[in-house]
Amino acid sequence: MAKASILIIEDSFIVAYHLQATLEGEGYAILNKLDSGESAISFIEHTRPDLVLMDIMLAGPMDGIETASIIKSRFNIPVIYITALTDKNTISRAKITEPYGYLTKPFEDREIFTVIEMALYKHDIESRLKQSEEKYFSTVNSISDAVITVDRECNITFMNPTAISLSQWTLHDALGKPVMEVLKLKNEITKEESINPVQCLVGRGNQNRMPDDLILVGRKGMQVPVGESSLGPQLNSRGAFIGLIIVFKDMTEKREHERVLRDLQRQRMTALIEGQETERSRIAKDLHDGLGQMLNAIKMNARMISVDNQAANDLSNLLDEAILESVRISENLLPSKLKDFDIAVCLRSLCTTVEKSTPLRISFQARGCSFEMDQLEKVNFYRITQEALSNVIKHAKATAVNVNLLQEGEIIHLSIEDNGKGVSEDNRNSIGKKGLVNMRDRAEIMGGKFIMESNNGSGTIVMVEVPVSKLKVHAEA
């Protein structure tokens, strides 16, 4: 690498000349020798040296210290003072300009080489550090994640622009404030308020993140869902804990995206289930009202031909069986009751029918109002109960089941509870997974919730909660 280029500012031309000869002898490039601060600055305007050697006593109105401070602040070029002045006052003035070296005349040649090399090296390191700091700073400032750092007392030491805009604070106001005061977090699910991000680190074992489903309440009341957070310790060079870095994301778009996706899925599910039920209902109706009625009519006619004829009696018996079969198939597909009675009657009837065919004791209770709902919703409640009962029979080893339907305020609750062996997490997947998904789907397309809880050995409870308002909205749509 070529040796550094140097500018000499020295009012004594003899000293300047000597310096030039010495340095050029060592391979340095001397760009110029000047004798005043003014001329030095106008030279540097167009030609940048790597280093400036500066005498303090100069020709012209500016002295070397004034000149050096301008060179430092405007051009960031390292300056080494070369002077005969060693009085306290001069040295303390010179110190403020953060010189890279201070040589007192007279000096040895070797001495100046050392000072120059050290100055160049130091300046290089410093500018690299500065660059990397700038790089980090602009990165942190430009990323879309919110970044906040706090000190050991949990007071804010830094917020990047994203954090500032999400919290609706200004950096000026927030600095030094306790993080709890600036970062107002509440939990969307548990409704817990004033969540301390630092406690998340302490309180939740080694989880270095905040819970999901948090809402950040801004200073002006703006609410933003935040998540995908991380909490990292800030350590100093000796590895001691000096603070915490809190990073989180604005989840608004992601949540919206998820919501759209869920809506789409629900629409697809609704269409699927509705289509299935419509088809079933059509076949059931054809069987019941078409084929069944025809068989009845044929039977009536057959009887009138001859009451005593044995063949006619046999025919009549066969027709009876055919009628029963068509009714059975039709009722299996879709119970005719669902269109003529409210859901409470239909579920009571279902429980009675199931009870007859099993040793289970099934009790049904309905409380509340009229359970107003449209045909499809009735079918959904009915199918959920059917599926739950069939799971109890197949898997639970239960002796009794309680089916409860109640309307409380704006919510219709349905619960099916047995006293069987319960469902453990392990076999939840193996038992009628399709059935579970189907129950959940049906609850969700009504805008409701499906919950299954089980304690090993003390039965299982399946609960469906559907808000009445959602049922009505759905019925209108």
Partner: protein, 215 residues
Amino acid sequence: MQKHKILIADDHAMIRQGVKSLLSRNKEWHVVGEAVSGAEAISQYQSLKPDLLILDISMPDINGMDVSQRILSEDAQAKIIILSMYDDEDYIGRCMEQGVKGYVIKSETSGELEYAVQTVLRGQNYFSSQVQKVIFNKYSNTVARKKQKEPEIKLTTREKEIVGLMSEGMTSQQMAGTLFISPRTVETHRANLMKKAGVKNSIELVKKMEKLGLL
């Protein structure tokens, strides 16, 4: 002698045909009209003023139960026999409550219908043998059910937890937070608990659970 006027309402032509030819064997009966839907049954009943209406339940527009309710609300003496495929206690029960005079199931022998028509025209009620069986079963089931002892209250683990927290005075919100479930789920458990205990509010519930030693 004046013939009895009979109206038949059924959306199936074959059934109407069958009933009509069955009734035509009795010279005292005269089928004055055939309605093919619920709405027609009501309007024809009003215009023809028959002595008897033989009515199907399952019809495409208004079902037979609603038809009979409308007719009977205007004329409580109206004579209606339900002729349906449904041999189900809920259908039969609802029709009887409304005050129909007879109920015959379509798959029964034609004798049952003839007898029903005769009896109802005489001013009495007639429920066919199969219908009577259903009514009897329903009655005996109800009696059996009442005799069954009320099951003891048995709580699930989760329900015990909830009663425990309730006795400490926690709100549903707080319980939800403590148990990591949604407040709505807590509400459901609470509602189930009150039903199991047969009480109307949380205070009574906690008292009762204490009394039963379930706390």
